[in-house]
Amino acid sequence: MTDEQKFFVHYTAPKEPPPSRHPPIRDSGIIGWARVNLFSSLVDTISTLTMLAILGFAGYLFLDWAIFKAQWEVVFLNLRPLGSGPEFPPEEVPRIELSIYILFFLAMLSVGFWGRVRGFVFAILALIAVVTIVVPIVADAVEEPTIHYYIDANYNIRQVNFVADEGEVLTFTLDPVTDKSDFDNDKLQGYYGNEKLPNPAMDAFAAAIGEVNRGAIDPANYDLNLAIQIWDRRGQVIAQSDFSQGTSESTVLEWESPAEDWYTVTVVRDPNAPGENGIAWFKIDDLEVFYSTRTETRKRLDRFGDPPRLNCEGCAISTNRTDLRFNGERTLAQWFSLQLAPYLTEIRMFLFISLAVGLVGYGFGQAGKVQLDRKLMSRIVVGLWLLSVPVQIFVIRGVGGEDFLPRLSTTDLGGIYLTILLSIAGILASFPIGILLALGRQSDLPVVSLLCTLFIEVVRGVPLITLLFMGRLILPFVADALQNADLVIRLSIVLTLFTAAYLAEVIRGGLQIVPKGQTEAARALGLSEVYITTLIVLPQALRAVIPAIMGQFVSLLKDTSLVALVGLFEVTGAMRRLLSDTQTGYTLFQREGYIYIGIVYFILCYVLAEVSRRLEETGAGAARR
């Protein structure tokens, strides 16, 4: 080629742009994250979808039951017995609360000093506090559910006691059901009742549906002669609607309350011409469905006095309770207003004071960490803990006499407080015994080692419930002093011995972690065996197994639930007793009760387990080198 030709390289511009390459698969952002974590392979995708299906289904079932059908009254109407025991005199409950505040304060003080709480915990607490305030306020605005009762020629309505403010307008309606198409099983939907939890009204209506569909009853032949009556608290009729005279139109009574008081409404039949056939709904609109929570009851009784107890022919005697169990449809908003809001109102005060106390304690702890000498602060905290023991005993035990702090015995205690008390007393009292047993077990004196091993293995090989029953039945025969000791003390002894055996195993693990060189060096320095054990070996061993000890504490917290089977009313036992009371009808709500207890235990144990995990992370568990 010529130079010229070499110089000009032949270049033809492409006619079309080159095919673009796809950008790499996104692995950032939500989609990317999902791709990597949820859909990375076929198996992955299948398992994700299966899991979503299972979760969705189970979640739907559970939420549907929990929100629309479950009755959580057994929980929020009984927070006091659950917290401090069914035998505990209600007027002394502030002492229990004080005790818990002291405990919480000291705990947060220790956490503030020795640990650190991450930011998001505060965020969660703030959120809970906000929710606790907001929900009851918003809930007031939710409209009340319409209360239905089913009336036919045979089913007599109970009288319904209610409280009305002055000038409040209520609407009572008697709706005859004359259209055959209204007798449909779909109309039963949403009413809480099945073969296991009979709702007599619904059963009657279901039977009526059957009859109508068979043609045995023709609802169009409505001839009941009913009227709505309103009584004042003395049983005088102060308002009455017209008798329906067998027409199929609704009877409506709009009534304005003359004064703030208790009233009773019922449906009566004309004694002269009662009528034979017919089915009607009795509905009450805008009536505030109230619950006998402690605060509400006190407010109501303070304002209005006791509810009327009136006898009427053929009516069941009504009490406040049965009318509150609203067996009907509930919307989501009504769940908030009828179930969640009362619960939050009940625990609000306690929650706020505990949060305040906890924050103050945490603040002091953090301040002390910064400002004071570490050793001094350490001594102050430990000193406060030790001081709190006699203070707590004084607060709970009280002094004699009826005025200031009446004497209480341990048999009065119950509820969550007893659970916490038994666990703390158990773990603290079992510490020295456990250490001694661990040292004894691995001592080189064969007799000592054998006997300690025997004790530990026997106690660990037997179920706790057996030991508790023995503590209850056989221990009183063993020593006279124990015969008169009350059940709580006897069971605490059993729990202590039981925990000590388990603790001994845990500490033995810790003792094995301590390097032999430590003991040898100490011996070379001329320390006696006792000093070696107490000053060198035990501190390292205990520090190494703190997480395991916390685990044992959590385990003890759960095991205290077994004393419910032996006759003490700690929180599981208190709930069991509540649910067995046939008079209040809580026996139908076993699931709600035990789910709540499970949540309580879960919160307690989870928090403790988290603390233990944090301790482990900060190196408390590792042997220091």
Partner: protein, 354 residues
């Protein structure tokens, strides 16, 4: 090492000495002294059976015939004032009731317990006078009646609910085996309300218990009109108080406290009209109320007016019955009037009051 040994030795010495010094004295001390010193009577009850012992949710007070007889004994010992604060009701399940009595956890066990030979002989205890003559019965749902069941003979193959650890269970097994040759299918529960729950949920076809308990459970169920008590009587169930037999004086106190209520009904004295009998001329009534010099109460270690205290605080047998058992659905004249006073043909009979 040495110090650890010393510490351990001391600990063990303390434990040992605690047990050595604690064998009980040779004579059982008077139980009455112990109760008076304590100031409160520990009474074991069921706690969950309407009509016998259950807590009224509105007043938080233990009510029932068993509870009232606890109050009767307490009134005899402590006097008529504020009897409610002198009784400590200890709820016990059927399984643990005898152990609690033997362990001294309760002084007196009034928990609808049947008086049997085995219990009298082998549990080192004695029974007080029978306060309620009952019998064991069966309760079924209306559907079974509609399908033709009339008595136990029609219930072959059915499941039976009962409380574990009671004579009920044993009688059921005996009766069924007698009829059908094999053991029945049993569903056991710890408390009577748990048996009701099992029954209502369909875990068993028949609920068996004392007829009084059945009536109480029926009134507490969600749909009482659906439950029917059959006519069968499986066994005699005389129910009464139970106490340890190591203190005859206490036993006498319990016995005569109960007899006081029977005698009061016989004499026509009630808690409402007792004041009219002050200064009466009737020798028998005066002796009963402690208004004469016979000093019967002192023979028992009680005050001479203990019978009057009882009636004042709790009432006579008729009042106790009508207050507690009748509302549950067992009128006084049911079962051929077995619970009537002997003058009306029943078995309520008190020995001579002198």
């Amino acid at each position: 090492m040495r110090r650890i040994l010393i510490v351990m030795t001391l600990l063990l010495l303390v434990m040992a000495s605690a047990s050595i010094t604690s064998a009980r004295q040779a004579e059982p001390g008077p139980k009455l002294t112990e109760i008076v010193e304590r100031g409160i009577l520990n009474c074991g009850v069921g706690g969950a059976l309407p009509g016998f012992s259950s807590v009224n949710p509105d007043t938080n007070r233990m009510e029932g015939i068993d509870a009232d007889f606890c109050r009767v004994v307490a009134a005899a010992i402590f006097g008529p004032d504020d009897v409610d604060s002198k009784v400590n009701f200890v709820p016990l399940t059927a399984n643990e009731r005898f152990n609690a009595l033997q362990a001294g956890q309760v002084d007196l066990l009034i928990r609808n317990t049947t008086w049997t030979l085995t219990r009298d002989a082998s549990l080192n205890s004695n029974f007080g006078p029978t306060t309620f003559y009952d019998s064991q019965g069966l309760m079924v749902k209306q559907e079974l009646i509609d399908s033709g069941v009339q008595s136990l003979a029609d219930l072959e193959g059915a499941s039976f609910c009962s409380q574990s650890g009671t004579t009920t269970e044993k009688n059921m097994v005996d009766a069924y085996t007698q009829l059908f040759g094999v053991a029945p299918a049993l569903v056991l529960a710890e408390t009577s309300d748990a048996t009701l729950r099992d029954f209502e949920n369909g875990a068993c076809d028949v609920l068996t218990s004392d007829k009084s308990q059945l009536a109480g459970l029926r009134s507490a169920s969600t749909n009482p009109s659906n439950l029917v008590i059959l006519n069968d009587t499986l066994s005699k169930e005389p129910l009464g108080p139970m106490y340890l037999d190591d203190d005859t004086q206490f036993g006498d106190i319990v016995d005569w406290a109960v007899y006081a209520t029977f005698t009061a009904e016989e004499l026509g004295i009630t808690s409402q009209n007792i004041d009219e009998f002050a200064g009466t001329e009737d020798i028998v009534i005066a002796r009963f109320l402690g208004q004469d010099e016979s000093g019967l109460g002192a023979l028992l270690g009680l005050s001479n007016t203990f019978a009057a205290d009882i009636i004042r605080a709790v009432g006579n047998y008729a009042e106790i019955y009508e207050r507690n058992v009748a509302p549950v659905g067992i009128p006084r004249d049911s079962s051929n009037g077995i619970n009537q006073l002997y003058t009306n043909g029943g078995l309520i009979y008190a020995p001579a009051w002198r």
